[in-house]
Subunit: 467 residues, 2 copies
């Protein structure tokens, strides 16, 4: 039986060698859409394991599960890379309300931001100063802010087509809001959730205190967009509107965790590495299906789909499931650091961390020459409606692998629904469409196949480019 | 106040006249994403009115509502075009089960196909013949089929990227299944739902008896994909598996209904018409949010967005909300017939009837010369990720308007999730994303703007085409 299997694999491999690239891509997409594993894996990760905040039991289970599943694929090597990660816990559910000048209260939907300190045990109640940005905050100054709760309420810009750009234009309120407000003596910070939609869900996400002394730190939390609208309206009607919130989240000691890594050894250039990855950790409110369960299972399926499509890579292909992207990036940094120490040459690294929606293309962080090489391949993707090939960022976890000559890339799925779910309790498996997820896995596999076959070409060849 | 408004409109209009096309498209998209009405209209249509099967109270309410809303837009003319429509009613909820050879029963999720006759009052129970297509049916012949229930179980092809193509490859089972099976004396027909996903929802849709005499007609119904899998498995285990179903749907007499039409009169070429439309009727299981509430409200918003963007059309722009697309196409046919009688020159007609998902582009039914003209405009759409410009079909309702020189087109949104909802009880407002809907309305408005500005150019100008 085993020799029959070897023969079959050999036939498939020889067959692929003689196929056109268009035929190979067709095989890859067909494999993913009719015989993919990504959806089943995600079902387990989301519904059997659930949320995977760094240092949590869920994260630990996810390490064991994905390692075991990679081992089942018969890769050349599967291992864990130890990495110490921060452990922040939310504690009991947060509670908050708006108190009108007449003393009437409206409960709001609120969640602590990741990394925030707790409020005092009895909570904080204070007057509220609403601002749109740090410039307004500075103009108000200490006299207006001291002892109050700063309410950041700059909405995501609806007329930007790429929702990531709208997120980029807002997220400093969440990440830096507390440290900025603390400068003026604020008692706490409330942020409008990073969500383009008006709804009732608070969205968490990381925040920083930078090097603020512990006794200067103030608690920060997000409220839903609907509650942000309500609070803003009430403040317009009466500036004496107060806000109360209580949270008992906590930063514990760092704990041991792992990146999960699998590898197919290259047949011709084993020392040239191609990496695909997503991050295994998630926030704790939903089950992290889009962020980034989708990227994890798609990356795992890239190696599997190469095999089931009969492709025998010339270069070494690695899947890396990074730990702690959300609140520390320790996994991404550790991987890059060890890789550098070992002198590993990563010619191409591809991250999927933008949700499991219909793939539209890729964003490339590379030289013009490499980008031109990629544009040559663009027509191969047209039958799959993959059209977005732009220079830009790649992904947080692969970013530290950047060199002068390599290519980093990020999968770019349709982004319209992403921030409806991002870091909120509705980032759950039911929001995933099986075909969309599988199309993403096939799109990633196709690009990996092409980079494996042709390598990274440092020579610009503008004449061949189809514009 | 009124003169101030007129002045403002004039300024906007003059301003637009001096803008580049790229600037105008930017204004249109911004208007739709920050000040669109499509989502609010759809909320009313879906949640206040609900399903709109031809001849139903819902359809009647939808006619009144959309007419009133178009009147609120201050168009030059809004009117109803009378059209007689078939009235089919589902009656009491269908019931069906699989009975194993040992007499154990499994209830299935089943719905009558639109246009089907009822079963006898006590239902039909019979042995089952599973086939994949009409060829298999013919090979089995009368001896194997007489008195049995024919079960059509050809799944939608998962490896086709455009799900409409997968639908096209399967839908003859639903539409013609009964008339084909009746030739061989079948007692009834069960069809696997047109759904790429495995789930529990039956999907209805139209079927025909052609010219089959009334006494030869047999009832036909759809079962969910999960139930189709179960029935198929049980038949493989034991061919003596039986199926029972009961439905009391009925075709009533035709009733009076209407197409709803609104018009902005063209300033330079009032006798050249540009039409945008969707269909007002829906199936009865969900609320028809994707099929085709989305197309209705997007089409309405095209006229409104032209106004709010300060565009004064040179040609007459009509929105037509067609009645009875689903089970008769009477509205589309009536509109084309009267338009022909009046000698109206429709240079361009655009339909949105493929769901309210993220728009990807258009399919064009036109001459090569006109298609080349459109390809010249393609770069204008790139910032909005609109990339799909292909020759192909347009839409059922605008199809009858085809001439040798005009351009028909269909909006092509992302199709991956469409058949999860199509004609099923989950075609509901919660499956609509506001931004995706608004992007569709803006994309349609942009193309209407360009055809209004430049007209349909019958001269091929291949040199200018950016390939």
């Amino acid at each position: 039986m085993k020799s029959a299997f070897v023969l079959l694999t050999l036939c498939l491999t020889l067959n692929v060698a003689s196929q056109t690239d268009a035929d190979v891509l067709k095989t890859i997409y067909k494999q993913s859409l009719t015989n993919g594993k990504s959806y089943d894996w995600l079902n387990h990760l989301s519904n059997q394991i659930g949320s995977r905040l760094s240092g949590s039991l869920g994260a630990e289970k996810a390490v064991s599960y994905t390692k075991a599943e990679l081992e089942n694929l018969g890769l050349d090597r599967v291992w864990l890379q130890p990495v110490m990660v921060p452990r922040w816990i939310r504690g009991t559910k947060e509670y908050g309300y708006i108190e009108s000048a007449l003393g009437k209260t409206n409960t709001v939907n609120i969640c602590a931001l990741g990394g925030s300190i707790a409020t005092p045990a009895l909570g904080i109640k204070a007057n509220v100063v609403e601002v749109k940005n740090f410039e307004e905050l500075a103009l108000l100054g200490k006299d207006s802010i001291q002892g109050k709760i700063v309410f950041y309420n700059r909405p995501m810009q609806a007329d930007l087509i790429l929702t990531y750009e709208a997120y980029g234009g807002c997220v400093n309120q969440r990440y830096k809001g507390a440290v900025e407000a603390a400068k003026y003596g604020a008692a706490g910070v409330i942020v409008r959730s990073m969500n383009l939609r008006l709804d009732d869900l608070p969205h968490t996400g990381s925040m920083t205190y930078d090097d603020l002394p512990v006794n200067k730190r103030i608690p920060s939390a997000a409220i839903s967009t609907n509650d942000a609208e309500l609070l803003s309206t009430m403040l317009k009607l009466n500036t004496n509107t107060k806000f109360y919130f209580k949270q008992n989240c906590k930063q514990l000691k760092d704990v041991q965790s792992y990146n999960v890594i699998g590898e197919i050894k290259g047949s011709e250039f084993p020392n040239e590495y191609i990496l695909v990855g997503g991050h295994l950790d998630s926030w704790d409110l939903g089950d992290g299906s889009h962020d980034d369960g989708a990227g994890v299972v798609q990356s795992m399926d890239v190696l599997r789909l190469l095999k089931t499509s009969g492709i025998k890579p010339k270069r070494s292909i690695r899947v890396v499931l990074f730990m702690n992207e959300e609140n520390g990036l320790r996994g991404g940094k550790k991987y890059a650091q060890e890789s550098k120490q070992k002198g590993e040459n990563h010619i191409f690294a591809l991250e999927s961390d933008s949700g499991g929606f219909t793939p539209r293309g890729f964003s490339f962080d590379c030289t013009d020459a490499s980008f031109n090489q990629v544009l040559n391949w663009q027509p191969l993707f047209k039958p799959y409606l993959i059209h977005y090939f732009e220079k830009g960022g790649s992904g947080a976890d692969v970013g530290p692998l950047k060199t002068e000559s390599n290519v980093l890339a990020g999968l770019r799925p349709d982004s319209q629904r992403y921030f409806d779910h991002h870091h909120a309790s509705n980032d759950t498996f039911d929001a995933i469409n099986k075909r969309e997820l599988e199309l993403g896995a096939a799109t990633m596999t196709s690009l990996v196949y092409l980079f494996d076959k042709y390598g990274v070409n440092p020579i610009s060849n503008l004449d061949n480019i189809k514009k």
